[in-house]
Structures are given as C-alpha cells and as structure tokens.
C-alpha cells in the first residue's frame, strides 16, 4: 500500500522522532509513505473565516498532489491533519472558497475535495486494521498503563474531522490495546492543552496542561500518548511528573523497530 505523506514543519525540526518512528512503523507494516514534493507548512491552524484564501493554499496544493497520484493523504501531526481535513472539507462544500482557491492554484483540473485525508491512527485502524497491527507486535507492552491524549485537533470539529465519537472516542484506546498495553480512560483526554496560547500566556497553557496530566494521573496512567508536538510541549512544560510520548514512538517500540 502506498499513501501520500505530509510530514509538516515541526516533524522536520523539533519533532523528528514523531516522523522517524512513523516512517519505520509504516515500513514494518508494509505501507510506503510517499512524501509530497515541495510541501509547505500548513500554517498550524485553519482560519475559520470565510474570506481567508491564501493561508490555505499550501494545503490545497498538497491535497491536489495526492489526488493526482490517486492516493490518500496521510499526516501524523494533529495540527497538519486538522488543517488538511478542514481545508479539504471547504474545497468540497464551500463553492465560493473552492472557486477562488482553484483560480489561484491553476491546477490542470479543478480540485474539489476528492482526496481522502487520513491521520496515522486512521491508517492503522481503517487501512491496515488494528488486528493486523496486533499480529505485527513483537514486544507487547503488557501491563503498561497508557493514557491516550486526543486534545482538540484530532477530534474537532467533529462534523468535519469524523475520526471518532467526539465526546467518547475509542481509536487511541483501541490502538493502545493493539500494542498489548492497558488503555486508561480519563475525562480530560479531549480537553485542550492550551495550544498556541502558550506564546501569549504561558500560565494559561500551564494551567490547562497540568489539569490534563493530573486527570490522567488520577486515573492511574503511567505514560501519556499524543500525536501532536504542541500538546507534547505544553504537557511537558506543565511541570507534572508524567512522561509524554508520541504514539508512533510507542508503536515503533512495540513493533521492535525503535532502535537502529
């Protein structure tokens, strides 16, 4: 299986492990990640205002490239995934935006949201299957109490993202189970970590992140799992004593491809 891959800027710099393990695990599971040529930063956030066009064009280009190749467009970073998915939805359902974006981009054929945008978790669940992942696990993480942290970008807005039940998601828990570990469910798993507001108000972000980790700790978690570099940063900066790891790292570990 071959999919188009949009790593995103953070995975090239501060979140190299997220990228590295995503590639290794995919290889181990028989999926080829074909990186989008000359991809540009997604911008980190999807501006909801209807008159913002230019800031969304890099996503449109990536989406179109995947369409031309006839592949789904994969990303691991929650933010990239969120922006790609929302942009794709706008291209599909907002005629005005699609018209303007196509005018800018001048593709051979107009892009109308044809590409399937998938997150790494969806690749595992829907394209590979968690049962297959389970079979491929070499070092099951038996007994490890892992708390999935969804944050907001993976799930919301639910109408567009459609990854899972927005309020009671199970995809990451099923993933954790596939690796042989025990998922820990806690109420703050889909609450915001503070996000980009850390640039403006460190205290605000710290408050939110520590609430998340406190909630995970109370539920008995030993380790918190995330797909988002910013979530990881905020959670780690909260000052709580709780390891936070990328989901691809844990996957690579279970598949036995973590070490070089």
């Amino acid at each position: 299986m071959k999919v188009s891959y949009f790593p995103g800027c953070t995975l090239r710099t501060k979140a190299k492990q997220l990228d590295k393990y995503a590639r290794r695990a995919a290889e181990a599971l028989g999926v080829e990640l074909e990186e989008i040529e000359n991809w540009q930063c997604c911008g980190g956030a999807f501006t909801t205002s209807t008159d913002e066009i230019a800031t969304k064009l890099s996503s449109v280009r990536a989406l179109n490239e995947a369409k031309v190749k006839g592949q789904p467009l994969l990303s691991v970073c929650s933010a990239c995934h969120n922006v790609l998915k929302q942009t794709n939805d706008a291209m599909k359902n907002n005629a005005d935006f699609a018209f303007k974006a196509n005018n800018y981009c001048e593709f051979e054929e107009n892009y109308a949201g044809e590409t399937e945008v998938i997150h790494y978790l969806e690749l595992l669940r829907d394209k590979i299957g968690f049962d297959k992942v389970k079979e491929a696990v070499k070092n099951p993480l038996t007994g490890k109490k892992v708390a999935a942290y969804y944050g907001c970008l993976l799930l919301r807005p639910g109408k567009v993202l459609q990854m899972d039940d927005v309020e009671n998601p199970t995809i990451m828990e099923d993933f954790i189970r596939a690796l042989g570990a025990d998922p820990v469910v806690y109420p703050y798993r889909n609450e915001c970590c503070g996000g980009y507001v850390v640039m403006d108000d460190k205290e605000s972000a710290k408050k939110k992140s520590s609430k998340v980790l406190e909630s995970a700790r109370l539920a008995g978690a030993e380790i918190v799992l995330t797909a988002c570099p910013l979530c990881k940063y905020n959670l780690e900066k909260s000052g709580m004593d709780m390891p936070v790891v990328y989901l691809t790292e844990l996957l690579a570990e279970a598949l036995g491809v973590k070490e070089d």
Binding site: K159, E167, N168, V185, P187, A219
Partner: protein
C-alpha cells in the same frame, strides 16, 4: 350554460389587506356563466352565508364560486350553505385567495391580479361541474386501539363505555406503557401506579375490550368504517389462557442475567418473566433471545415447575385478521438515545442517568426498592445535578437531538428535585435550566415550591461537560446570571433526555397512509380545530404519538379521540366521497389498465350487452367502479388509453379548463 354566483370574501383584512376585493368581484362579473358577483366582509359568518343563500334563490344560481380561504378550511361550510338553499353542494368551488394569495404576496396589484386569475379558474371549473350524490357505506362497529399506554387505555375505556367493542394491540407483554414506569405524577404528586393500575384492571375486566398484548399490527387495509387489520400475536411460549400468573416460573428460571427493560436495564430479570407485579394480562412471557430451552433445547425448568401446564415451547407467531370501523393510534414516545451526548458522560459513568432511570430509582418497585442509591456503588448520593434540555431544542445537526421542546421535562425535573429534597434533606440538588417552561394548571406554583419550600438550587445556564473522576462526577457549567463558570462535584447526574415518537410509528403511518411531520409525530387533520383526528378518515390520534404531552393532556386527548370514534361508530352508514372514478362504458375497451393501478381493488369487470348500430347486440367486457371502495385518487384516469375513465369532481375537462383559465 350554468348560472354562477361569485362571492368574494374579505376575511376582515386578511384578504382585503392585499387584494382589492371590490375589483375582483367586478372583474369576475363578466366571466362566462357568471350572473351575480358580490363581496362581503366574512363570507363564512351567518350573515355571509345568508347572502349566499339569498343569491342562490333570487338568481336561480346553478353554481357557486367562493373566493376565500383554503377549501381545507371552509369548503364544507359553503357546501352546506348551498345545500340549505337547495343547490347541489358539489356545485360549489373555492378559489383560495387567502393562504395562496393574500398571505403570501405583499402588494395590492399583484395580489388582486392573481386573485382574479384564481377566481377565473374556479369559474371555469364550475362551468363544467355536475351535481354529485354521495353514496353510502356500512360501518363496522368496532374500534382498534394501537398502543396500550395511558392514552390507549383511556381511549379504549371510553369507547367501550359507549357500548362499542375495542381491541387494544400492545407490543409489550403488558399494557401500562411509560406511565407504569413512572413513580409520582406532577403537579399533585400522586403515585402513578395507584391511579394507573385500577384503569388497567378495568380494561382487563371490561367485556367489551380485548387485549392483544405482545402483539403488533402488521397490515391495515380498507377505509373509514371498513378497515381490516392483520395482527401478529408474537409467540410468548406461554398459553395465555392457562397461565395463572403465579410467577413460580419467573423465580425458578436458571437464566438470571437478562437486563430488565422495565427498570431500564438497571437490574436483571429471568428469561421467563412478568414485567411487573400489576401487569395486565398477568401472564408470563418467555424471552426467546435468552431462554436456554429455546436456544439449545436443554433446560425446561419452567415447564417442570408450572403447575398449570401453561408453558409451550412449540408456540409460533400467530396472525389474525380483524375488522374495524375506526383506528386509534396511541403509540407513545421514548426518550432519545444519549449516545450522541457523551459530553455528559452517559456512556462513561453509571452514575449519569436519564430522568426515566431516575424515576425507577425513586420507585418502591424499582431496582433499589425505592432507596435513592447510585447505580455504580450503591451509595447514597449527596449532590445531584439535573441537566435540562438534553437533546431538546437542539438544531445543531439532525441525528443528534430534536429541534422541538419536549415539554414535560421542566415539570418532571422539578418533581424529581422536590421529591429528592423531601425524602433526603441532606442532599444538595442543582437544576441547570435554559428556561423553565411551566404553562399548565398549578405548574408554575409547583416549580416555585421546589425552589422556595424545598431549596432546590435552580441555576440559569447549561452544563458543558461532565467528567467522571474517581467516584465523583465533575460538572463544569455556566451560571449565566452570575456570569461565572462553576464546577460542582456531583455524586449523580440526571439528564432530562428529549423524547421522540416510538420507532413503530413510522411503519404504522405508512400502513395507515396517515401523515407525519418531519419528527415522525403524527399530524392532525387541523392543528387547532381537529386536533385528535388524522387527515386520513377513520384514523384518530391519542397521546404522545402526536407530540410531546403530559399525562393530563394525554388523558384529555384520549377521551377526545374516543368521542370522535364513538361519533363515527354510532352511525349506521357513512356518506362516501362522491368524487370517485367512473367509467364511460361506451368508450371502455376492457383493457384492465385501470384495475392494475387501483390501490383499493375498486375496479372490477363486467360483461355487458351493447346494442350495435345494426341492431345486433354485442357482449363486451367493461370496467365497473365500486363507489364505496374507490377513494378518488384518480390514478386510473391517467392510465386509461381510451379516455373512458374519469374522476367526478376532478374531471379531465374540468382540470383542463382550469389550466386554460390560468394560462389565458
């Protein structure tokens, strides 16, 4: 040539506001056949009707056109008026210049112009009208009530009281419905069982009433006065007439882990069960999905312990056909699923429950024997948060909630809060509300008592998220009046779930050709003036199948529906709609096209002798319409290749002349 009178109604300013009625009356005066034209303030008033009667007599009118409101409103009125003046009522046509003209257009010239055209179309039609005489059909003097909740029970009792036979079809093993699950009733706080179970017993003992419990209506044919319903009596594997209801089988059955639907799955029942102590009929039912004997053929304990010999594992579903003159729909409601509202953590914590579940927790016959204990750990909750409007007034997306107000939640929540504070004064009770809606007799006083006398904390705002943490539920909510976000550590959260029509209503509506609104509530024939009748003749509505309502309203409507049924069944003959199909035998070639499309089987073929021009006789096969069975849809008229079939009252040439008049 007809002699037509035109009567233009002002309807006060409803029509006259946007239509120059004078000009309309004037313009229509010169139409072919019109000999009289006038306008009046309220044609439907006595004075207006008198004007019509007088004009009919004075001008020897043979046809009448009333330019007024919708024919659905006053066609019958004006037809009666015409009949009183000696004119055939079917010589009256209505031009709808209110709903379809003055109310939807804004300026006078446009409205007037359109009203004149609509008037001309009606005149063109009346010119081709012929006097019609309605036929008659017999009435089967029995009624069918679908649904055995309080609505169905009350309707059945009232109809039986008037001396007519009634059958109740209830899909559950017992009648009683939702009311049987309720603990106390607002605003008087009498115990629901105490007032409901005597009625259930009355039903069982009434010799005019038969109960088909654990049964469903699978097919309905026929029309008002002459329905035939097929009832599926599901196999309950217990002989109903032999079982004494002693309940020994329900104690000995080894299959103990079946969720008890009567207590909403909060405790278990056996595979053979009687839903509750006062069930009617009080007979056991075997649940085939859980019975070991039925699934594997090994067990048979219930048959061994049954002294009456009532158990019969070989029972099959049974279909019976019954005839009825009237059908009452009383299929009721259900709370909606809370799956889409997991911000309230219904699926994440056992201590987040719906109001109906709370009702069972409070009930002495419920899973906790009436003690208020949390489902998770059986501890007494000291802080309870009630959330109103969960799924009601929700327009965010279709599959999530319901756009309407569920109406009963404000009151039952006030009741729950009050009863909780009354029985457990050590418990803090919070109610989050958007609006408290209490328009009912003694309702607002009741709600105020909860606040003022019982100290229930009513907070204007909504709960945003419920977070189960440890053995507590962290409730995050807004207090709009304090402009604060508040956090409450609750032991129990109760969701006032929106209510929706029972799932069986939709297929039933199709069977009955009764119309429904977009929420699957049955629609009434007229929202104000015919609230308990379906637009389909002979089908009546009782209770929450028509819209959210509380018990007093349901009972009132049940009685109203019953009185309508009684009115129908009291007649020996029904006047049929004379606007039925008829075939011109000379033109008919006996091809059977019409019979093939007729949904009622109203068309048969007869061999008929025809005199030929050369004086010989020829026997031909021609269509013949049974006027009592034909409902007048007109489908046959379109398929008839020779144009022999036509529909009285909506004849081909009449509709064509309307088209011509409009397109002139």
């Amino acid at each position: 040539m007809q002699r037509i009178g035109v009567f233009v109604c002002w309807c006060g300013s409803n029509i006259a506001g946007t239509v120059d009625v004078q000009a309309v009356a004037e313009a229509l005066k010169t139409e072919p056949g019109v000999v009289f034209s006038t306008n009046y303030q309220y044609m439907c008033s006595q004075a207006g009707q008198d004007i019509m009667k007088q004009a009919i007599k004075e001008h020897n009118l043979t046809g009448v056109v009333v330019c007024s409101c919708s024919p659905r409103m006053h066609e019958t009125t004006f037809r009666k008026t015409a009949a009183a003046a000696g004119l055939n009522p079917y010589m009256v046509e209505i031009a709808n210049i209110r709903e379809q003209c003055s109310w939807v257009h804004k300026d006078m010239p446009t409205g007037t112009e359109k009203a004149i055209i609509l008037g001309k179309a009606a005149i063109a039609k009346v010119n081709l009208n012929t006097p019609l005489t309605p036929g008659e059909s017999p009435v089967t003097k029995r009624a069918l009530v679908i649904g055995g909740g309080i609505a169905g029970i009350q309707t059945a009792l009232d109809i039986a009281d008037a001396g007519f036979e009634v059958d109740i079809v209830e899909k559950k093993p017992t009648i009683g419905g939702k009311m049987a699950q309720i603990d106390k009733t607002f605003p008087t706080l009498d115990c629901a069982a105490c007032i409901l179970t005597p009625k259930m017993v009355d039903v069982a003992q009434n010799e005019k009433i038969r109960i088909f419990s654990y049964a469903e209506v699978t097919d309905v044919k026929g029309f008002v006065g002459n329905f035939t319903a097929t009832i599926k009596k599901k196999a309950r594997y217990v002989k109903e007439d032999v079982c004494t209801g002693c309940g020994i089988c329900t104690e000995k059955c080894p299959q103990k882990k079946v969720p008890n639907e009567f207590n909403l799955g909060m405790d278990n029942r056996r595979a053979v069960y009687i839903p509750f102590a006062q069930a009617v009929p009080k007979v056991a039912t075997i649940d085939p999905d859980h019975c070991t004997m039925l699934k594997t053929g090994k067990c048979g304990v219930c048959a061994k312990v049954c002294t009456a010999g009532a158990i019969d594992y070989t029972q099959k579903d049974e279909f019976i056909e019954e005839n009825y003159g009237a059908i009452v729909v009383a299929t009721g409601y259900n709370p909606i699923s809370m799956d889409k509202f997991d911000e309230f953590a219904y699926n994440q914590s056992k201590d987040v429950i719906t109001s109906l579940e709370y009702e069972r927790l409070m009930n002495a016959a419920g899973p906790t024997a009436g003690k208020l204990l949390r489902p998770s750990d059986g501890k007494h909750p000291h802080t309870i948060v009630f959330v109103q409007c969960v799924g009601s007034r929700c327009s965010a997306c279709d599959e999530k909630g319901k756009e309407y107000c569920s109406k009963i939640c404000c009151m039952y929540t006030a009741k729950h809060a009050m009863l909780t504070r009354d029985k457990y004064p050590d418990t803090d009770v919070y109610v989050f509300y958007i609006d408290v809606r209490t328009p009912g007799k003694s309702f607002d006083e009741f709600y105020r008592r909860a606040v003022e006398d019982y100290g229930v904390h009513y907070i204007k705002g909504m709960v945003g998220k419920v977070m189960p943490e440890g053995d507590q539920l962290k409730v995050r909510a807004s207090d709009l009046l304090a402009n604060k976000q508040i956090n409450i550590d609750a032991d129990l959260v109760v969701l006032a779930a929106a209510i929706e029509p029972d799932k069986s209503a939709r297929p039933l509506a199709t069977m009955l050709t009764a119309s429904m609104d977009t929420n699957d509530f049955f629609t009434e024939a007229h929202p104000k003036l015919r609230p308990v009748e379906s637009p389909t003749a002979g089908v009546f509505l009782s209770g929450a199948c028509q819209g959210p309502r509380d018990i007093p309203e349901t009972v009132a409507q049940a009685g109203a529906a019953a009185s309508k049924v009684i009115g129908l069944l009291a007649k020996d003959k029904l006047t049929c709609n004379p606007c039925v199909a008829s075939s011109n035998e000379i033109m008919c070639n006996g091809c059977s096209s019409c019979a093939n499309v007729c949904p009622y089987g109203a068309i048969t073929y007869v061999e008929k002798e025809f005199r030929q021009p050369d004086r010989t006789t020829l026997v031909r096969r021609v269509a013949s319409v049974n006027e009592a069975v034909c409902q007048g849809c007109g489908c046959c008229t379109v398929v008839c290749p020779s144009g022999a079939m036509d529909l009285k009252g909506f004849a081909n040439n009449q509709i064509m002349s309307e088209v011509d008049a409009i397109c002139k």
